[in-house]
Amino acid sequence: MSIIEICDLTYSYNPHTSFEKKALDNISFTIEKGEFLGIVGTNGSGKSTLIQHFNGLLWPESGNIFVLGRNTRDKNYRDQLWKKVGLVFQFPEQQLFEATVFDELAYGLRNMGLNKQEIDTRVNEALENVGLDPEQLRTSSPFCLSGGMMRRVAVASILAMKQEILVLDEPTAGLDPEGSAHILQTIKKYQQENKVTVVLVSHCINELILLADRLVVLDNGKVGAWGSTRDVLAQDDLQHYDRLFPDYIRILFDLKKHGWKINTGMLTVEEAANELGRVLKGGG
């Protein structure tokens, strides 16, 4: 069953002015329940605009988007959407505002009308999920933490709400490799344990290649490619946005252009090297 269905979605910024820019142009695809979907695209391709439609922050200019079967244009439904779709914005640590880590995580939960006991359990659980020690941090101010830890607090505050769909906009941007790996492992583990649907937008396709079940490539507001990660990479017509891909895959694309009979659907450097070895030994 499709958990999110996007039908002919179009959205423009600054409509009817000389700066009008079509951010999304007739987009259609579906997101299945329980999958890990990666969204990639260059800066300005419409990634962040797209995901803000998932919880009703933006409305389509034309077309429709159905979340859990209901149209987000429905005003009555919009008030419930935030309980179903958790959205972690870019640089979420910039939106921390409470005096303590506990209150920060509890804010959303209190708004959901949960009782004290439940809030307490969920806060502890969410902090543990992101690898922070609840005992140590509950009473600290989030603003005394390092950037990487603030990011984890911000992610935890969304995880605590236990929504069915989790959408993250570049959760690793600006973190060092260690911090990025930690956040991604947390999300993957959370997805597998809780069977939630995860949509992850990343500027770094390298991390999505290994994590995502399927990929959507956004290209100038249009869907450039959509399918299983391996299928997307194996396509013939990626040249147009091949800058997005890691160099080990771009080399395979280059060689294909030189007439090599080579399979570009390789996920890791090792796979790519083996494929090159196979072709060089005369397998192509």
């Binding site: 800066n43 300005g44 997005l244 080990y248 280059d254 060689l255 030189h258 790519a272 090297a273 070895g277």
Partner: protein, 282 residues
């Protein structure tokens, strides 16, 4: 005439810390950058990269030792304006250095402050727009541009001062892979066609694969200074640096028995060698 280029002579930089304990950010660094070079600077967080960059145009002054720009000492107040004209800086977040509401005006800001004649200002704005591929955005407000475009505006503004040296402190860390590559390509064009010396600080080894040499800093000391391929090959000794995928790919293929050059660090070199290799196999 005095030496052209950048010289760091026994440079030590200390910051005042807690309770009279000084933090030493750079320890006795000696470094020469010749005109026309493309130099990459790498190192972990807190290894002294940013301190080094800020010493190059006198934003910071050395605690001991000297920093010489085309023979001018950065400690000499009278030379500071001239040094800052020669050495342009671009920082991590372009939004911190953009001041004007329109792209064109942003690029004209520096030259206007030099009291240049109108036609010269227009010429420099034109050139900046052209070099950084920004012509179509000339009338845009900077906040309507993407991160990569904003970073290019910041570089175009720096170029309008006609500097000899362009120092960039992690200019790509806010950009996605594709914008990052585009920016690096622009830097190589500036370096080759305009002869501008580039000093590029980056965490991303792929950014630096095409540099003439890499300077590795570790805990404030100069740890290594060599061509990129040499640095990438001794990765286990240099903590915290992940060599580019291409270097790993070359190693894997070499283990399979294919004859590839150790010096390959860029995609173009790799494709070239592989094509040659496949012809010799067939």
């Amino acid at each position: 005439m005095s030496f052209k280029g950048i010289q760091l002579l026994d440079v030590t930089k200390e910051y005042p810390g807690n309770q009279d304990i000084k933090t030493c950010a750079l320890k006795k660094v000696n470094l020469t950058i010749k005109p026309g070079e493309f130099v990459g600077i790498v190192g972990k967080n807190a290894s002294g990269k940013t301190t080094l960059a800020r010493l190059l145009n006198g934003l910071l002054l050395p605690s001991q030792g000297r920093v010489m720009i085309n023979g001018m000492d950065t400690r000499d107040r009278r030379m500071r304006m001239e040094i800052r004209r020669r050495v342009a800086m671009v920082f991590q977040n372009p939004e911190n250095q953009i001041v004007s509401p329109v792209v064109e005006e942003e690029i004209a800001f520096g030259p206007e402050n030099l009291n240049l004649p109108h036609h010269e200002i227009s010429r420099r704005v034109e050139e900046g727009l052209k070099l950084m591929g920004l012509r179509e955005f000339r009338h845009y407000a900077p906040h309507l541009l993407s991160g990569g475009q904003k970073q290019r505006v910041a570089i175009a503004s720096a170029l309008a001062m006609q500097p000899d040296y362009l120092v960039l402190d992690e200019p790509t860390s806010m950009l996605d892979q594709s914008c990052r590559r585009e920016l690096i390509e622009h830097l190589h064009i500036l370096n080759k066609q305009q002869g501008i010396t580039i000093v590029l600080i980056s965490h991303c080894m792929e950014d630096l694969a095409g540099a003439d040499r890499l300077v590795v800093l570790q805990q404030g000391s100069l740890f290594a200074d060599a061509p990129p391929w040499e640095i990438f090959r001794q990765d286990d000794k240099i903590v915290g640096l992940k060599p580019p995928d291409i270097v790993r790919m070359v190693e894997l293929l070499q283990k399979m028995g294919f004859n590839l050059d150790n010096k390959i660090t860029t995609r173009a070199e790799m494709v070239d060698q592989l094509c040659r290799l496949s012809k010799s196999v067939i």
